[in-house]
């Protein structure tokens, strides 16, 4: 867990509720994996007080990018950070996604800001010449992000929204089974951002005997494994055990996570 002061190259609003930040890491000597996150200080004040966990959206040679949802006072404060300022961030933190290079096709199931985490998987898949199929779920088309990025990485994207009445679990299940799995062998499923879609992904992965991974989101205190605020239950054989999302996750095998 290292603390860095990284130069912000840009911090711009990209839709009604989402902002995109690019940070220079060329001087930091760090390796970042898809699914890992940084504990970011939103402002140099005693409120917002705690750091915010931001998963890495895109990982480039000299920069990393964050796509963040402006949800409360912490992320609102983050929007005030200007290009040229430094960002106080700790990380990278946690266990990221694994991607089998021999995979032919993978499926991403993302909801809302979950795309900020899974886009890095699509980027890594593209580099390994693994084909991505992506279900992108959002409240409305305005809330959809990164579709062009995903398509640039060669992903075939299926969009579902509340606004259009297409985002219900049954319809997503139909798309996965009839539009994707009926003609394509999916080698792994990756999901983030929605409990309902995670449950669906888990059930499809079990049914089709496909390995999967999930990135969990939790309220965090320290982000260093010390405080035990961000726990979740994991199945170990016939028992469950409580693990910390920040250090033992945030990415876990999909079949092991006990969905609340």
């Amino acid at each position: 867990m290292q603390r860095h002061q990284a130069n912000v190259l840009s911090n711009k609003q990209v839709s009604n509720r989402y902002w995109h930040m690019v940070v220079d890491i060329s001087e930091l000597n760090i390796d970042v994996d898809p699914g890992q996150f940084f504990q970011v200080r939103c402002a140099d004040t005693y409120f917002p007080f705690l750091r915010r966990p931001l998963s890495v959206y895109r990982i480039n040679e000299d920069t990393i990018e964050f796509l963040y949802l402006v949800k409360g006072q912490g992320t609102s404060a983050m929007t005030k950070i200007q290009a040229g300022q430094s960002l106080d961030m700790m990380g990278p933190v946690g266990e990221g996604f694994s991607l089998d290079p021999s995979a032919g096709n993978i499926l991403l199931v993302a909801r809302g800001v979950g795309v900020a985490t899974l886009a890095a998987v699509a980027q890594a898949a593209c580099r390994q010449q693994v084909k991505c199929y992506a279900i992108m779920s959002a409240r409305s088309r305005d809330d959809l992000l990164a579709i062009e990025f995903l398509e640039d990485y060669g992903a075939e994207v299926f969009i579902v929204t509340e606004e259009e009445g297409t985002s219900d679990v049954e319809n997503v299940k139909r798309i996965i089974k009839e539009d994707i799995c009926a003609t394509t062998v999916i080698d792994a499923i990756y999901t983030c951002g929605s409990r309902r879609l995670s449950k669906l992904s888990q059930s499809i992965a079990n049914e089709l005997h496909i390995p999967g991974e999930i990135a969990l989101e939790e309220h965090m205190g320290c982000g260093m494994g010390a405080c035990f605020s961000c726990v979740c239950d994991i199945r170990e054989g016939d028992t469950t055990k409580s693990v910390r999302v920040c250090t033992e996750g945030p990415v876990f095998p999909l079949h092991k996570v006990v969905m609340e």
Binding site: Y46, M224, F228, C230
Partner: protein, 304 residues
């Protein structure tokens, strides 16, 4: 030229190289990546219970102005795991290990304390008497002077190692409890655990903590803790470990001037993983600037 400064302090016969140590519950082996544990005055792992326990409902933390509320609920893997894994993880460092004990009954406090005190690597015990006593309808042991005295006197019978009583601030008179702890045979007093607090989301009208209430920590609580250190120092001759809201070296020095011999740092490490050693460096700088060669000079040096 930098003059040589003595930062040693003594807590109940335990000589610490410096007065800075982590607060239990805000520290773990994982922080070794960021922090040189050999520079700490002591190592205080998260409170240990006899048996594994799962902890409280989520969310377990929330933010407030100048601080945070937590209700982790002492999620613990039990004493067997603690001795087999946690202690060895810390044993390689020079700083003495002070084990924090939590228990549901007086008998369990004695039992767990005896086991821990017999371990050669554990140099002292911090009794977390601020957690709820299930036999006392959830009231903390440390809210009752008679129970505090009895509990510490019974633990005293099973060890000669230093016993530190971690007091709760959630009492009418912390002085009364401090005196009871001293009479029970404590070697030091931790002032104090977190303050019972609550926060509500006004949009959803729901509590921001899954357990409804939790313990408040962070810079906002520091003036209350400084007051309590000062008050406890008036009635007890025991060394005091100040705990609550220390974010900087000057905060730690303030507590020492109020009467603390040592200082624990908790929430600050959440914001800055090197807070403990940064604070230590700031204390050294203060001593240098003020030509203080013995840090003990600061303890209780308040001028009224």
């Amino acid at each position: 030229m930098t003059s040589r400064k003595n930062m040693q302090v003594i807590i109940g016969g335990l000589t610490l190289n410096n007065p800075i140590m982590p607060a239990s519950g805000a520290f773990g082996p994982e922080m070794e990546q960021a922090l040189d544990f050999n520079r700490l005055g002591a190592i205080v792992p998260k409170s240990i219970t006899k048996f594994p326990q799962p902890g409280n409902a989520k969310p377990r933390v929330c933010e407030t102005n100048g601080g945070m509320i937590n209700s982790i609920g002492i999620q613990s893997k039990g004493i067997e795991y603690f001795l087999a894994h946690t202690i060895p993880a810390f044993d390689k460092f020079q700083a003495p290990i002070i084990a924090s004990v939590s228990a549901e009954s007086l008998e369990e406090f004695v039992d767990v304390s005896a086991t821990l005190a017999n371990h050669k690597s554990i140099r002292g015990l911090e009794l977390n008497i601020s957690c709820p006593n299930l036999k006392g309808d959830g009231k903390a042991f440390g809210m009752d002077a008679a129970i505090t005295r009895e509990l510490i006197s019974q633990v005293r019978t099973v060890t000669t190692k230093p016993i530190i009583a971690k007091l709760t601030p959630n009492v009418t008179s912390i002085q009364e409890i401090a005196v009871a702890a001293e009479k029970g045979g404590a070697d030091g007093l931790n002032v104090a655990n977190t303050m019972l607090a609550m926060a509500i989301d006004v949009d959803t009208r729901r509590p921001l903590i899954g357990n409804v209430m939790g313990g408040f920590s962070g810079p906002a609580v520091k003036p209350i803790i400084v007051r309590m250190i000062y008050q406890v120092a008036q009635v007890s001759s025991l060394p005091i470990i100040g705990c609550g809201g220390v974010m900087s070296g000057r905060d730690a020095i303030e507590m020492m001037i109020a009467g603390a011999s040592a200082v624990q740092v908790g929430t600050a490490s959440f914001i800055n993983p090197t807070a403990l050693t940064d604070i230590l460096a700031e204390i050294e700088e203060y001593m240098e600037q003020n030509e203080i060669t013995e840090i003990e000079e600061l303890i209780g040096s308040i001028i009224i």
